[in-house]
Every structure is written in structure tokens, then in C-alpha cells.
């Protein structure tokens, strides 16, 4: 590589890194406890216990859960219904409007066997919720998220440029050489290079999927305007279906499952919400095998008649968004993977911090 080219890449590596490092350090630090949020949540589980019922107690109809939730918050409409895996509980989200702002909604956990509420879910309470919001948007909402997305892009540029400048720096060195007989700065440079290059792929994947995750609202809005509008073309121009005209959720669920045997419902989006049209229950179905679990297919059921209007797999950008979640969280390979994720995250912290140190100590080195 020519000296001028190397210098340009070094410049790119220096500045893309410097701009995003503070935020990336914060993201790595808050990300560390989030890797184990399932275990932490379980350890501090303060959910009220469920009523003791015989093991084979049947589940009540879904419509009963909707009635329970709406009765809790009169004047609100149901938005979403989701299903707990670890206990017989269905969660129903309600709010005054179909697309409420943050904090303007209620999530009621309902016992599937009694249709009685077992408590409200407050997703904004507790230290883990604070850490999560720092990690997602720094309490700044969508602008905060998109800002992180931009920082993530700079971070990706810093990784690529870091790989490029690794070559000239290592011309006379073998992989992993730490020149222990040289100055402290040289030792840290060698360590920075070793840790950075060995974990480059992991950091790149977690960084890039983090960027994709910041686009979740944007991509969902694109999907709603593009695919959903095409699927519900016959309903175009009709006024939104009033809540009073909505039919049975159970019937919609039966129609959806009949249309896609071998799938499990992930959640139901009610008419008007971000994940459905103005006239449909969208039953989001997931595959029943590990390989297809991440693939969601929405079945659109006419909310008035309970009949299937359309069902189509998600487009590539929604699939990318969906796959970006496990690849960012590291929660799909049991505990050993979480531990490895945490170790790799700590190495990323060392790479970021040593990068700052190398920049701060540059004068001494050149003097």
C-alpha cells in the first residue's frame, strides 16, 4: 500500500472511531447486563403467582381476555395480544388510540384459565428498564435511536478501516505478537490490534445488526405502506372499522391457523395498529421448528367477517430486521453463548478504551 493510501485509511480509522467511541463504550457497558436480562429478570421475579388449578384446566377463549383488559381500562381499545411461553398467561395491550406514544398504553397479564388479570406489566419500571432505554435510545425516542444508528454506521466504517490499516502495521509482525520489550504505547497498540482483528467479525455483526435494529420503526412503516397496503387493496378508501364492529378474535385465530398448519401464533395485532391494517386482525405466526422460529408470517383476517384476506411472508427487509434481533442479542444459543457474548463484549470495551488511549498518547510517541 502506498504511504498516502495508508495515511488516508488511518485518518478514516481515527476519526470514525473518535466520533462514536463514547457512545459505543456506553452501548457495550449497558449491553453487558442486557445479555443476561432473562436471568436477572427471573432472579427478581416479582410477578404475582398464578392461581393453583388442575394441570389440565382448559384455556378460556381469547375474546374473554380482551373483555378483561378493556374492563380494566374503560375507554381504551385493544392493540395487541401476545402469549407467554413459560406460563399460561396472555398479555393484552390497550390504549386510548391505536398508535399511542410511549407510556400511553397499558399491558395487562391475564390468566388463560380464569381470564382474570394477574397484574399489570410495567415495562418501564426497574433498573433493567433504565439500562435498556439507555442502550436503545438514551431516553430520546426515535431520534435517539436513529442517532445510535448513525453512530453504528461510523463504528462499522471504523471496523473496516481498522482491518485495512492492520496490514501495514503488522507487516513485520506475526499474528498476536506483543512487543513486550518496547514502550507501553507500543504494547497497547499490539494488544489493540490483536483483540481488534480477532473479534472483528463478531463486533461487525453485532454492530451492523444493531444499526438494523435502530431502523425497526422505519422498516415497519415501510412494510405497512408497501406490502400491507398491497395485500389489503380491496379495502382501500374505506373508513377505519370501528371497534364496535370487530368480530371474534378466536374466530380470526382459527382462520389463521387453518391457513398455516404447523405454525404457532406469536402475537395478534388489532386493527389500526402499526402491525396491522385498519380492517384486519393480523395474526403473526412463527414457525414451530428452531430454524423457522425467527420467520414470522402475518395472516390478515377481516376483523368483521373473520375470514382470511391474505397471507404473505415478510419481505427481505423485515426478515433482515427479524434476524438482526437474535444476532445482536446473542440469546439463541443457551447460557454458553451468553457467556461468550459477554466475553467478546468485554474485549470490545478493551479495544475501544485502548483506542482512546492510543490517541491520547500520540504526541508523546511522535515527540
Amino acid at each position: 500500500m502506498r504511504t498516502a493510501t495508508v495515511r488516508t485509511w488511518c485518518w478514516v480509522h481515527k476519526w470514525t472511531s473518535l466520533v462514536c467511541t463514547v457512545f459505543l463504550l456506553m452501548l457495550c457497558l449497558t449491553g453487558l447486563p442486557l445479555i443476561f436480562h432473562d436471568e436477572i429478570d427471573a432472579a427478581f421475579d416479582d410477578r404475582p403467582p398464578l392461581a393453583a388449578l388442575p394441570k389440565d384446566a382448559p384455556d378460556l377463549p381469547l375474546d374473554a381476555f380482551v373483555r378483561t383488559a378493556v374492563a380494566m381500562y374503560p375507554g381504551e381499545r385493544p392493540l395487541f395480544m401476545s402469549f407467554d411461553d413459560d406460563r399460561p398467561v396472555t398479555n393484552v395491550t390497550t390504549a386510548k388510540v391505536a398508535q399511542p406514544g410511549r407510556g400511553d398504553l397499558h399491558i395487562t397479564a391475564i390468566d388463560r384459565r380464569t381470564a382474570k388479570p394477574v397484574g399489570a406489566l410495567d415495562e418501564d419500571a426497574g433498573i433493567m428498564a433504565v439500562i435498556l432505554r439507555l442502550h436503545v435510545d438514551m431516553f430520546a425516542g426515535l431520534p435517539g435511536k436513529l442517532f445510535f444508528g448513525f453512530m453504528g454506521l461510523l463504528f462499522c466504517a471504523s471496523i473496516v478501516s481498522g482491518i485495512v490499516v492492520y496490514a501495514p502495521f503488522m507487516r513485520k509482525l506475526a499474528f498476536g505478537d506483543i512487543r513486550t520489550n518496547r514502550s507501553r504505547r507500543v504494547r497497547w497498540l499490539d494488544l489493540h490490534n490483536l483483540l481488534g482483528i480477532a473479534t472483528a467479525m463478531w463486533v461487525g455483526v453485532v454492530g451492523l445488526t444493531g444499526v438494523v435494529n435502530t431502523l425497526s420503526e422505519t422498516l415497519t412503516a415501510v412494510w405497512r405502506a408497501d406490502q400491507l397496503a398491497a395485500l389489503t387493496r380491496p379495502y382501500e378508501g374505506q373508513p377505519p372499522l370501528p371497534v364496535a364492529a370487530w368480530g371474534s378474535v378466536d374466530r380470526a385465530m382459527r382462520a389463521a391457523r387453518a391457513a398455516a398448519p404447523g405454525t404457532e401464533p406469536q402475537f395478534v395485532a388489532f386493527p389500526g395498529t402499526r402491525f396491522s391494517s385498519e380492517h384486519h386482525y393480523a395474526v403473526w405466526l412463527k414457525g414451530a421448528t428452531p430454524a423457522t422460529r425467527q420467520l414470522l408470517t402475518p395472516a390478515l383476517i377481516d376483523a368483521r367477517s373473520g375470514e382470511l384476506t391474505a397471507m404473505r411472508s415478510m419481505p427481505w427487509y423485515m426478515l433482515a430486521l427479524r434476524l438482526s434481533q437474535p444476532l445482536h442479542f446473542g440469546d439463541y444459543g443457551a447460557m454458553p453463548m451468553k457467556v461468550l457474548w459477554a466475553l467478546l463484549d468485554m474485549i470490545a470495551i478493551i479495544v475501544l478504551a485502548s483506542g482512546v488511549y492510543l490517541w491520547l498518547s500520540r504526541r508523546k510517541a511522535s515527540a
Partner: protein, 58 residues
Amino acid sequence: MKRVGGTFGIPVVLAVATIAALISGLLGDGAVDVVAWLGLALPLIAIGKALRASVYAK
């Protein structure tokens, strides 16, 4: 350590192991999870070996 495969020999192996691990973990549970753990552990093992070698080279 020798310059096995040039500057990028070992880094490419580690990168391929990492990406194979990340994808295989998505494909299933059980045996493929073990593949994922091994692939993700490889960069950490390489770092550990390199650091050990540097300490002993003193």
C-alpha cells in the same frame, strides 16, 4: 508465533469460524449450538494463546 498464511491468515480463519457459529446457532438447538459455542470461542482461544506466548517470550 510465525506469520502463518501471511498477515490475514489467522484473522480470516477466526472470522469464518465466527460467522459460521453465528449462523449455525440460528438454524437449530442442541448439536448446532455446540458448533456455535466452539466457533465463538475460537477467537478467544486465539487471543489467549497469543497473550500466553508473549508473556513467555519475555
